[in-house]
């Protein structure tokens, strides 16, 4: 008994020593925190699917075979900035998380941005839209992967103004995201000779839009710009059809629309809508192959949204930077700097780069929702209408107010 315990004590000491030795040489442990809306109106476009995407990125990176130990935890910010920052703080302080991914909801995303900068972590944001993340509020610890409000405004917005939609009325979600999207789109509308004739700010997660739609109808604007997302957008589009808004000659601009939204609205109502995304599962063989693997693991067999795809691609690029560094320095700013120095390339978004302000640049695609007769499968929703190269879609560095650019 005595000898056994001494033996195990010695063994334990030996293990502890060797473990410290390894850590001293090259730390190959990584902890990822997937922070998202896990159950609310943005849960389907990010949520558990984003965690799955991060997991697939871990598996596909093949780092485990090279001696890396990578863990992932997930959290539900419930679309509340205070909850989001509390989780982020706990993850850094207690759980020793290195990188936080996803974080839809611009309000939460901006709040978490500050925490990550303070804790010197890595922030790979895919779900949030606000262009402020890489503009006025940019951070050396942040990479904004998938899309932003500037891009949405300069693709969908611009295309609509150029097609003759020169008077706009906005239905805007009353928080950071809606405000940013309305601001960026208004800039595009006025720059192209159009005019914003009015708008209404609605609370996040509104079930009934009829009052707001009537105001939009009464404004006689040619375009009703939807500066909202997720469940709010689907409800607006559905109810706009009911009130005969499109039949009355006004056009809806779904500035931000996700695959899961189209599914929720149904093609019958959604057909013909124009919008922009940076990823669609049915683009090429690579995206189809990834999406097939992804859908098999999703509980409702849904292919990835662009947000979930962005989580995957962002995490893969993060791993490439860590590999290039030869280990995890647990220094967020240093890792992000490495990420920016390497061109991005993956199966989902193709070739691109991360600008000094943290903005990932890649192509944006203008889509149109298919007619029910054109759709061949349960998720066959989009027709490609045009491609906007990344350098034209996103904020030019000359227009960016990011402090990182002034060095």
């Amino acid at each position: 008994m005595m000898t056994k315990s001494i033996a195990s004590f010695l063994l334990g000491t030996a293990l502890a020593v060797s473990a410290t030795g390894a850590a001293f040489a090259q730390d190959k442990t990584v902890k990822i925190g997937a922070l998202s809306d896990q159950s609310g109106l943005y849960a389907d476009l990010g949520g558990p699917g984003s965690t799955l995407a991060a997991q697939m990125a871990i598996e596909d990176s093949g780092l485990a075979a090279k001696g890396w130990k990578i863990d992932i935890i997930s959290g539900d910010h419930q679309n509340k900035p205070d909850i989001g920052t509390a989780i982020a703080r706990q993850w850094f302080d207690v759980d020793k998380v290195d990188v936080i991914v996803d974080v839809p909801n611009s309000g939460v995303a901006l709040a978490v941005n500050n925490v990550i900068k303070e804790k010197n972590g890595v922030y790979i944001n895919s779900g949030a839209a606000t262009s402020d993340l890489t503009n006025a509020q940019c951070s050396p610890n942040t990479v904004h992967w998938t899309y932003d409000t500037y891009m949405l405004a300069h693709t969908t917005g611009q295309a609509l103004v150029k097609a003759g939609g020169d008077t706009w009325f906005f239905l805007t979600a009353d928080y950071a995201f809606g405000a940013a999207l309305e601001r960026d789109t208004t800039a595009v509308v006025t720059a192209n000779g159009g005019k914003v004739v009015g708008g209404v700010k609605h609370p996040l997660n509104t079930p009934d839009f009829s009052s707001f739609l009537l105001q939009a109808q009464a404004s006689k604007a040619k375009i009703i710009g939807l500066a909202n997302a997720g469940g709010d957008t689907t409800n607006t589009i559905k109810q706009a059809a009911e009130f005969g808004i499109v039949k009355g000659g006004q056009k809806l601009a779904a500035l931000l629309l996700f695959l899961t939204d189209v599914k929720a609205i149904g093609l019958e109502t959604a057909q013909g809508l124009n919008f922009t995304e940076t990823f669609y599962w049915d683009m090429n063989d690579q995206t189809r192959a990834f999406s097939k693997r992804f859908a098999e693991k999703m509980k409702n067999n849904a292919p990835p949204t662009m947000v979930q795809a962005g989580v995957y691609a962002g995490v893969r690029h993060y791993f490439k930077a860590l590999e290039a560094l030869g280990g995890n320095p647990h220094d967020g700013a240093k890792v992000v700097e490495k990420m920016k120095s390497m061109p991005t390339e993956d199966d989902l978004f193709g070739k691109g780069e991360i600008q000094p302000n943290g903005r990932t640049i890649h192509n944006a695609y203008l889509f149109e929702v298919k007619k029910p007769s054109e759709s061949k499968g349960p998720w066959d929703f989009y027709k490609l209408v045009g491609t906007v190269p990344g350098d034209q879609a996103f904020t030019p560095l000359s227009e960016s107010k990011c402090a990182l650019l002034k060095k």
């Binding site: 109106l41 700010k201 609370p203 079930p207 009934d208 009829s210 105001q215 009911e242 009130f243 939204d261």
Partner: protein
């Protein structure tokens, strides 16, 4: 001015849902003394049952209006038999907590299987389109919702306040022992009443399915407002909850026009004001 008429009408439409839901709550509270927090989840189940009936059974909207409340009502009666009945005579808090728990479980299960963005349910062909009223374009379906729920509300009020069955019910709430002595099966009546209240919730769910998304959280978003309606109207008052439901819909509609940012808080501000002035609610009797 035209815009104002339109907002009033839109408010009336939302008020229909508030009225139907708060009516069910008032019936259950008035007769069973249970604060039924599962009401939102049961409303959501009504919408989902309609969705399943259509997509799995090919049963259309009109039959769903009949079957969904029956199916969900039976589910409610099972809940009452197996769980709620044991709480008779205990503090309100127990019923509230139990039904709140049931609501969370039901919502969680639906969310696990159907996600959060919801499923589409088309407006039935007969009610598609709209009519131009001069001051607004009224979708036929919305007009139908207002009329139909008004009829249902008045019928329920009539059933409880003006018929012999309703008299039994009210008597059983006042003095169950005495009513039992007259040979009335009180527990069965209570179960049926709960089923009726739940059926009303499910009916509201079917009505709202074509307007809103059929979503697991559709009830959770609504239930708090509906509780405020019940509190303002006076707990347990049938007519009070109907009138308050419609009235608050209109007030909320007007807020959406004049100050949209406050549209989801105005009901609660009113609730606070009413409670300050008349703690039993507008039509409530002192306990």
């Amino acid at each position: 001015m035209q815009a104002l008429y339109a907002q009033l009408l839109v408010g009336l439409i939302n008020g229909s849902f508030y009225a139907l839901l708060s009516l069910g709550l008032a019936v259950i509270f008035g007769m069973l003394n249970i604060i039924n927090f599962a009401h939102g989840a049961l409303y959501m189940m009504g919408a989902f049952v309609a969705y399943f009936l259509l997509n799995l059974g090919g049963i259309n909207y009109w039959w769903a209006l009949l079957f969904a409340p029956i199916i969900v009502g039976i589910f409610g009666m099972i809940l009452e038999r197996t769980m709620l009945q044991w709480l008779t005579g205990l503090d309100h808090l127990y019923g509230l907590l139990l039904t709140f728990g049931i609501a969370l479980i039901v919502q969680g299960v639906f969310q696990n299987y159907f996600g959060s963005s919801g499923l589409p349910y088309a407006i039935p062909d007969q009610l598609k389109g709209g009519m131009n009223l001069g001051f607004m374009f009224l979708p036929v379906y919305r007009g139908w919702v207002v009329i139909f729920s008004l009829v249902v509300c008045i019928a329920t009020w009539f059933l409880i306040e003006k018929t012999r069955l309703g008299a039994y019910l009210r008597a059983a709430t006042e003095n169950p022992t005495l009513v039992r002595a007259f040979g009335v099966n009180v527990p069965r009546m209570i179960t049926l009443t709960y089923g009726l209240g739940v059926g009303l919730a499910a009916l509201a769910g079917v009505l709202s399915a074509p307007i809103n998304q059929v979503r697991p959280l559709m009830g959770a978003d609504l239930i708090i407002v509906v509780f405020a309606v019940v509190v303002i109207g006076g707990m347990g008052s049938i007519m009070g909850s109907i009138i308050t439901g419609f009235a608050l819909g209109v007030i909320e509609g007007l807020t959406k026009y004049f100050y949209p940012e406050a549209s989801n808080t105005v009901v609660f501000v009113l609730m606070v004001l009413v409670l300050l002035v008349k703690p039993t609610g507008l039509t409530g009797r002192a306990a």
